[in-house]
Structure formats: C-alpha cells, structure tokens
C-alpha cells in the first residue's frame, strides 16, 4: 500500500513543485532553485525506497479509476525499465537544477524556468510510469507542450520561437500518429492496459492491422527521438538555454522515443518489418548524424548532431531486437545521458564564460579553464568510445550486435561496415570538439575574457564525468544491478547471459573499435584545416536543409494553399454563401425524404373554416408584400411584417396555444418598435439602384425566386403530411400526466419551461442576457453614417414652423402633437405594470409566465420613452437593466442550487400553494422563484437593447448641437 502511494507521490510531486515555483517572486532565485532541487531529491529518495522491490523483479502498480468504462485509467506501473528512466529524469534533473541556478542571468525569470522544468520532469515521470497506453499519450503530449515552452524560454529571440515551434509541430504531429497507433494497438489487444498489451504480443503481430499500427507507432517514436528524416528539429531546438538542452536532449525528451521502442519491442518487434524499418532508420540516422556533426561550427550544433547519431545507434539496437541488443540499448541510453549531459553543460560553461559558441573563434581555452577542459575531454572521450569510459562498453556491445548474424539480408551484412564508418566520424568529431576549443593557440578577440566558472556551476559536470569513469572501470559493481533489473523487466524469461567486464579478449568488436579510433584520428587530421573554412555542414549536402524544407512546407500548408483553396472555392460575399446554404438544406431534405411513404397524402377539407382561410389570405398577402417592399419601402415592409406576425398570433389562439399567442403578441410589439428605431439610421432610398436593372441581377432574382418557391413548397408539403398523420406522442402524455402531480402547476407549457426543462430555460435566458450585453457593447462604439447624422426632414419642418410663428419655441409642435397620446401612455404605465404582475403570478396555472410578464414590463418602460423626452424620463425613472439581468441570472441559478441544500439534484422543484389575503391561493412552487429570475433577465435584456438603440438619437443630437454651437462661435 505504501509503495502505491509513493508511486502517486512521485508523479504528483513535480507538478506541485511547479505550481509553487511559478508563484514565487522573480528575485527569489535561490529559493526557487532549492525548491526545485529539493523536489528532485525527494523523488530520488522515493526511487531509493522502491529499489528493493524493483531489484527483486517485482512490478509496483497503482490503480486510479478515471474513465473505467472506456478502459482509460490512471494506472501507474513501475518496473526496472521505468525505474532506470525515472532515475535519469530525476538524477540528471537535479544536476541541471544546480547548473541552471548559476547559468541563468538576473534578467531571466527563474520562477518561470524552474516551474516549466519541474512540470516537464513531471510529465516525463507520468509518461514513464503510465500503465495505460492512452494515459501515456496524454503525458507524452504534455512533454511536447512543456518542451515547447522550455525551448522557447528566451521568447524575445526569433531563433528560439522558430526552434520551439518546429519542435512542437514535429513532435506534436508525431504524438497524434502515436495516439492513432496506440488506439490500433489497444483495439488489437482488447485493452489499453499496458500489462495486457504486453501479454497480447502474438495476437498483435499476427493481426492484419499490425503494419499500420507499427508505422503510426514508429512515426511517434522517431519524431520524438529525432530520427531521420525528422531529425532537423533537434539542432534548431539548440536556441534553448543550455540547461534545457542538457536536460531535454541528453536524458529526457529525445529518450522517450527509444524508451517506447525498448518498451514495445517485445510486442511489436521480432518481425522483418520491425528489423528493416527500425534498424534501417537507426543506421541511417547514426551515420548521417555523425557525418554532419563533424562539419558543424556551432558547439551546441555539433553536440545536437552527435545526439542524433547516438539516438540512431540506440534505435538500430532496438531494430536488431535480440535480447543482447536490448540490453545494449538500455545500457547506451544510460551512458549517453551521462556523458552528453556533461558535455552540454561544459559547452554551456564555454559559452557563458567566453560569450561565443563558434568553434572557429574558440581556441586554446585549456590554459584559461584547465578543469573544464579536463572534464570535457574525458566526457568527449566517453562519447568517442575510448576504453575505461562508459561509452566504450555500450559501443562494444553495439559492435558485437552489428557483427552478429541476424537475417542474412544485404542490409544485415553491411551493418558492421556502417557501424565502423559512423564510429569513425564519431571519433573525428569528438576530437575536433576538444582540439579546436581547448588546444591550439590562445583565442583572439573573444567577447569576454575566459576564466573558470563558479565552483557550483562545475560540480554537476564533475559528478557526471566521475560517473563516466566509475561506470567505465567497474561497470558490474555500479550499474550492473540496475541494468539487470531494467533488462529483465523488458525481456523477462528471454534474459541473455552478458558480461559487463572490460576485457573480453581480442575479438571482432575490439578490432572494429581499434579501426574506428585510428580511422577517426586520420579523418580529423586530414580534414581539420579545411573544415574551419568550409560551410556549416558537410560538403555538397549542406545545401539540403531539412529545417528550410520544413519551413517551406509549413508556409505552403498553413498559409498559401489554404488561401488559394479558399479563393478558388470560397467567396467573401454573403449572398452566394446563403444561397449555397439554402440549396444544401433543400438538397438534404429532398434526398432524405425522396420516395418516403405517404408522400401523396389525401386531401382533407371537411373541417376547413372560411374565416381561418380568410385570415391566412391576409397573412399570405402581408408576407408576400413584405418581401416585395423590403428594398424600397422599408416602413411599409415593417408594417406588413407586423401583419404577418399578427396572423401567426391568431393561429396560435385558434389552435389551443394561449401561451404562445400572448408571448408572440408582446414580442411582436417590441420587435416592431426596435426595427422602427433602427430605420432612422438606414440610407434613404428613393430612386432605383442602377445595378438592379442589369440582366445579371434579374437572372439572380429569378433563380432565387425558384429556390424560395421550392423551399416554401417543400415545407408546406412536409407540414401537411405530418399534420394529417395520426399523432403518436408518448412523451407529451407523460408531461400532461405529471405536470400537476409533480410540477405543481396546471399550465403544462409553463411547467415544462420552468420545471421539467428548467435547465434549458436557464441556458436560454443566459443567451438573452449575452445578446443584450453584446448589443449594448456594440452600440457604445457605434458610429452612424454621416448622412444619417443630420436632422430628419420632419424635424426641420417642425422647427421651421416653430421659428416662423411668434411665441413658439422649437419642439412645441411635436409636444402639441403628442400631447394626448403622451398622457395616455404615461397613465398606461401602472396599468401595464399590473398586467405584467398578473401574467407573472398566474403563469404556473394559466397562460402567462416569466417571459410574457418580462416583455410586458419592458413595454411599459418603452412606452414612457415614446411618450416624452428621453431626458425628462430618465430624470424621473432610473432603470438599471444590467442589474436586472444580473439579478435574474443569480436568482435563477440560486433557485437551482437551492435544491442541493435538501439533498436533491440541481433544479429539483418544490411546490405548494400559499393563501394570500384578498388574492387567494397563490402557487408558491420554487419554480415560481426560478420564473422570477427568468422575468428579471427578460426585462433587463429587452430594456437594455431598446434603450441602447433609442439613445443613439440622443447622443447624436447632443453631438450635433455641440457642433452647431461651435460653428456659431
């Protein structure tokens, strides 16, 4: 039980540390470093506590249900391989934290850096510990995101931004492929649980989907581990601060791909496809990386390509896939992490103390920084594979595997030669690194005077180099048990016999090593003088730049092609878009209904009412008239629109829908007023628009008319067919039967709205509130057209008349004219208030309700605005619509949450009747309080919209009179 909790703690700890680090002050560099180092150290302590179980070959598991029905759970699982990887993440992490404390300058934000570093370490741990292959992907993508932020840490430089984006695009795309691959693997294995996937190896290999799954899986692994042809993101990621490079590109991020290869080699490996693809890609990457590394002038660039090359080596070992090769792969993963981290740190020290990383400018630094030079030399020797150092041992194992017989194909036969060739270049670039930077004449014209760094910046390098030596000299006594546990967890019973001894006698691998070292020295001696003057990269092929091709592709894919496609297929004109939309709708409806039964209904005329028919003659005439007049006679169209609306209201009354009729009627009034207010801001239109007479416009109108007639005819047919079918609605019966018994109201429509489907209604009033606020916000920045800005014609007539008569002031005419209606409208205010209250209170039992009451009250306010001057009204009646909206939403949601207090789900209602003196029984369901919220929100939103539009005239008349006064002055 304790072990399980430790596992969860190991996963959660870095994230907790990250949150704490992120909240610390920018100046608290020491405190953040202590926090981060402490987090890493505690993690190492947990690993130490778990070691007895791991060394005994046990697997520690912790199961936390997440989405059990989908088979996705937070299963944590630690075996030997996960343990050794967690050790690298936390161990190298601790070193990097110490190093970064001294590397970061005072301008860099230490809390941000360490928070990101810890979050990255946490994601790495999660990926390593995942016992569920989908959760593994989640953490995998998290490492992509955090590495993006870390690589782009110096986001003020374009290099860092480009490098970070490239890394994210490539590893993120790979991650998506990996997700698809994992889904396929999970499908084939019948479970996403890693243990069950590992147990289903034979099923998966024999499955027809094996090859697609393998390719998708490998795309994920290869992009992350920077394998050819996806390797180019890694050198570009060198724009990151050096501690990030030392961490991400030695021990952690780039090792994830090979971790997966090792982890899944028992499941996916052992087939010719695996051998050829993984082995082939590994060998190509190994060679290309080593060759390019020799020709790079940037210190970190050389190390980046060297990393690519070593990852290729590990991939090749995974491709070979024999038990001995897996052991060698794990061993080389560990060794590479140690010597490459120390080399990156040494390169960072050189950069930090001299101000440049260009090897053409660096020279003879050994006399200024002898300790650093010694450390770098030892680490580079380990990288080159010199005996007595850790790199030598795993490289010997690689040679032995390359030399061994596998399949007898030409590729297999050529493997030893490729291995020796790549090693030759590996020796040569290691030699170049040390020779150019630390030996030779004293450097001239460096940005800084070089000197040894502060002690603590060197300590991590010293420790790591010491590890190189110790592991290189006494491997079996140091890392032997760890390697054994890791390999055993992957290979299980297939565990081979291997020896970690230094001396195996004179055999093929030793001879290959000797050839590589000798040839490497020779290559460097021959090329040394020419490399420095040459281009950044090997001769001839340096012009082929993966990064540039990637950028070109990205620009094409995300910018040029989409734009030209949109230009070709799309239009920014609304009319064709809408026409297309209507046509698609028409097509879909026709397609799905074509040939359906009962498309030829019987004509039912026996219950037709002449009055109803006459009403609809008017309605149809209004609709067609509105369509006819909307362009040149907007006011007439608006009145006709209102006519069509009224016919709709009558239809609702006729067919037993009183609630709809009340609401529609009230909304009709508000809509008409709203549109009337808007008319003032539209351009005058008296004469015909010239382009209307063109043939093209005429054809377009005809086509649109046909489309519109088809739509109308179709919907008429559908509605006629449905209306003449026998009803068969069970849901409605349920609502009718339960409305009074459970909702406590006799008006079923209202009970549905505020009780059964209360949550929908809540969403709807939220929409209304949002629209109200949007209208308000838009109109605050509204600038009407200049021509609408001047006084209207009617106002000018009235003013002219007022000016001409004696004893009259401007505005008298309109005041006289509106005197009687104005008084009536003012007196209507209390009447409509009472009506609104009546509609609200009876809503639960009789037609009415919050919506109707809200709109009615809004009309009461609106009438006051129509009856008198806006300023006069606002001096007497202050309405704060935003507060109404806020109050309404709070009441509605508060009523919903109230049911929690009684242990019921959200929006459970309670109903009762209360006897109020004089009025009688009043329904007092909690739904009534909810309806109050609806009511208040509707009032607020409607009033807000109307006032916002009405105020435009006021604002512009003020602006106009201000402008006139100015002119007069």
């Amino acid at each position: 039980m304790v072990q399980q909790s430790l596992l969860l703690l190991l996963l959660v700890l870095p994230f907790v540390g990250s949150i704490f680090a992120a909240t610390m002050q920018a100046k608290a560099k020491n405190a953040v470093a202590w926090l981060s180092g402490g987090t890493m150290a505690v993690g190492l302590g947990i690993l130490a506590a778990l070691w007895p179980m791991i060394s005994a070959g046990q697997v520690v598991r912790d199961y936390n249900a997440w989405l059990p029905r989908q088979g996705i759970n937070l299963t944590l699982r630690m075996d030997g391989l996960a343990w050794i990887f967690a050790l690298m993440v936390l161990g190298i992490g601790l070193m990097v934290v110490i190093y970064a404390r001294y590397y970061l300058s005072s301008r860099d934000s230490a809390p941000r850096f360490f928070a990101l570093l810890l979050a990255f370490a946490g994601s790495m741990n999660g990926m390593i510990l995942s016992g569920n292959i989908i959760v593994l992907i989640v953490f995998w993508e998290m490492t992509s995101l955090f590495s993006f932020l870390l690589i782009g840490f110096w986001h003020h430089t374009p290099n860092a931004r480009d490098g970070a984006r490239m890394a994210l695009v490539i590893t993120g795309t790979g991650g998506l492929c990996l997700l698809a691959g994992m889904l396929l693997i999970g499908y084939m294995a019948g479970s996403y649980d890693l243990d069950r996937v590992l147990a289903a190896a034979d099923v998966i290999r024999a499955h027809p989907l094996y090859l697609p799954a393998l390719i998708l899986f490998l795309l994920g692994a290869f992009t992350k581990s920077a394998q050819f042809p996806f390797h180019f993101w890694l050198p570009n990621a060198m724009a990151a601060p050096t501690p990030v490079s030392a961490y991400l590109h030695s021990a952690t991020m780039v090792k994830m791909g090979v971790f997966l290869l090792v982890r899944f080699s028992p499941v996916l490996g052992g087939t010719p496809e695996w051998f050829n693809i993984v082995g082939g890609v590994g060998m190509i990457t190994l060679t290309i990386g080593a060759v390019i590394a020799l020709f790079r002038h940037d210190l970190k660039g050389l190390l980046a390509y060297s990393t690519i090359s070593h990852l290729g080596l590990i991939t090749a070992l995974c491709g070979i896939g024999s038990p001995e090769a897996i052991v060698a792969a794990i061993f080389h993963i560990m060794n590479h992490a140690v010597f490459k981290a120390s080399l990156f740190m040494a390169a960072g020290i050189v950069d930090h103390e001299t101000g440049t990383r260009d090897m053409r400018r660096l020279s003879g630094l050994a006399r200024y920084m002898p300790m650093t030079a010694t450390l770098a030399t030892v680490a580079a020797a380990a990288m080159a594979g010199v005996p007595l150092l850790n790199g030598f041992l795993s490289k010997e194992m690689f040679f032995a595997e390359a030399y061994a017989w596998h399949s007898g194909s030409p590729f297999d036969d050529s493997m030893p030669y490729i291995a020796v060739l790549a090693s030759t270049f590996s020796v040569a670039y290691s030699l170049r690194l040390i020779h150019t930077v630390f030996f030779g004449p004293a450097p001239v014209d460096l940005p800084k005077v070089p000197h040894e760094p502060v002690h603590w910046m060197r300590r991590p390098v010293e420790l790591l180099v010491l590890l190189c030596l110790v592991v290189g000299i006494v491997p079996a006594q140091t890392v032997g048990p760890w390697l054994d546990a890791a390999a055993r967890s992957v290979l299980g019973d297939a565990m081979p016999y291997y020896s970690l001894a230094l001396w195996h006698g004179i055999n093929a691998p030793l001879i290959m090593s000797c050839i590589a070292v000798a040839a490497g020295v020779l290559v460097y001696c021959v090329t040394a003088s020419r490399i420095a003057s040459g281009p950044e990269g090997p001769p001839l092929i340096h012009r082929i730049r993966g990064a540039r091709m990637f950028d070109w592709g990205l620009v094409k894919l995300t910018w040029k092609w989409p734009r030209s496609t949109a230009r070709f297929f799309g239009t920014d004109r609304l009319q064709p878009q809408l026409r297309l939309l209507v046509l698609i709708g028409l097509f879909c409806a026709t397609y799905s209904l074509w040939g359906a039964a009962r498309l030829t209904p019987a004509l039912v005329l026996d219950n037709a009412s002449v009055i109803f028919a006459l009403i609809w003659v008017v309605g149809a005439a209004c609709a067609v008239g509105a369509a006819w007049q909307a362009k040149y006679h907007r006011f007439a169209a608006l009145i006709l629109l209102g006519g069509a609306g009224l016919v709709t209201v009558v239809t609702f009354v006729w067919f037993s829908a009183p609630d709809l009729a009340v609401t529609q009627l009230l909304v009709e009034i508000v809509t008409t007023v709203l549109l009337l207010l808007g008319l003032r801001w539209l351009p005058k239109r008296r004469e015909e628009i010239s382009s209307d007479a063109l043939l093209r416009s005429r054809i377009r109108r005809r086509v649109d008319l046909v489309i519109a007639l088809c739509c109308g005819g179709g919907i008429a047919l559908i509605s006629y067919i449905v209306m003449t079918m026998a009803p068969g609605n069970l849901a409605s019966d349920w609502f009718l039967e339960h409305a009074y018994a459970e909702g406590g109201g006799t008006n079923v429509v209202n009970v549905i709205l505020v009780d059964f489907r209360g949550f929908d209604t809540f969403g709807e009033i939220a929409v209304l509130a949002i629209v109200g606020l949007t209208v308000f916000a838009l109109l605050r920045r509204f600038r009407p057209a200049m021509e609408s800005n001047e006084m209207t014609e009617q106002q000018r007539w009235q003013n002219a008349y007022d000016d001409a008569q004696d004893g009259r002031e401007r505005g008298d005419t309109v005041r006289d004219y509106l005197l009687v209606p104005g008084v009536i409208m003012q007196w209507m205010f209390p009447v409509i208030m009472v009506l609104a209250a009546q509609l609200f209170f009876r809503g639960h039992d009789l037609p009415g309700g919050g919506f109707a009451a809200g709109v009615a009250l809004a009309i009461a306010f609106l009438l006051q605005y129509l009856a008198a001057d806006v300023t006069w009204i606002e001096d007497r009646l202050r309405i704060l619509p935003v507060r109404w909206i806020g109050f309404g939403l709070l009441v509605a949601v508060g009523t919903g949450m109230g049911s929690w207090m009684f242990g019921y789900p959200f929006m459970t209602t309670y109903s009762q009747y209360i006897r109020v003196p004089l009025i009688g029984d009043v329904p007092a369901a909690s739904a009534l309080i909810f309806d109050l919220g609806v009511f208040a929100t509707v009032v607020g939103a409607v009033v807000l919209m109307l006032i916002a539009i009405a105020h435009q005239s006021l604002r512009w008349s003020r602006a106009r009179s201000a402008a006139e006064e100015k002119e007069e002055e």
């Binding site: 009319q575 529609q664 909304v667 351009p683 007639l709 919907i715 509605s719 006629y720 409305a739």
Partner: protein
C-alpha cells in the same frame, strides 16, 4: 385547416427565404423574421392542430392526455420566439454598426461592382 396552415407556412418560408438571399441588410432582417414565423408555426404544427384543447389542466380529477393538445412543441416554440427576438435585435445592431462603418447597407459592406 391543415391545408390552409401548411400553405400559410409555405408562403411565409418562401418569402423569408427569398428575402434572406437579397443584398440589402434590411431585407435580410425582414426575411429572418418571416422565416422565424414560418419555422415556429411548422414546429408548432408538429403537435397536430386541436381547437379548444389548450394544455391547461383541471386541478382535480383524473387527467386524460387525449383531451389536451401536445404541450412539447408549444414549449419549444415559446423559447424559439424569445430567442428569435434576441437574434433579430442583435442583427439589427450589427446592421447599424456595419452601415456606420462602411457607409452602405449592402450585406457585404460594399456595393457590388
């Protein structure tokens, strides 16, 4: 009755659709209003047409569901009425703002060449 109403719905929808595809923004607003009448009536008519059968229940006695019209389409349409009012208002304001910014009431913000 069914025939009359379905023809009415058809005319409303046809007028609305035609207007929605017009170039002037006021035409589009009127079109949307007509279209919303048509669609609301269409949804409402899916509950079949019943006269004198409003879904207002008696307070006592057994409830016979066949005596009342279908309340669900009514509840749907009630919310649709309020929402279509809100969209009309929003569209009107966008129209006014667009007219202010571009100087034209063409839906594309510029007169066709």
């Amino acid at each position: 009755m069914e025939l009359i109403l379905s023809m009415g719905i058809g005319i409303l929808v046809a007028s609305g659709t035609w207007l929605v595809m017009r170039p002037r923004s006021f035409q589009v607003i009127v079109g949307l209003c007509l279209l919303s009448y048509g669609v609301n009536l269409f949804i409402f008519s899916m509950g079949r047409l019943r006269t004198a059968a409003a879904p207002i229940l008696p307070k006592s006695g057994e409830i016979d569901p066949t005596a009342f019209t279908d309340p669900i389409p009514q509840a749907l349409v009630l919310t649709a009425i309020v929402i279509s009012f809100a969209t009309t208002a929003l569209f009107l304001v966008v129209l006014l703002a667009s007219r202010g910014f571009t100087g034209t009431d063409h839906v594309d913000g510029k007169e066709r060449q």
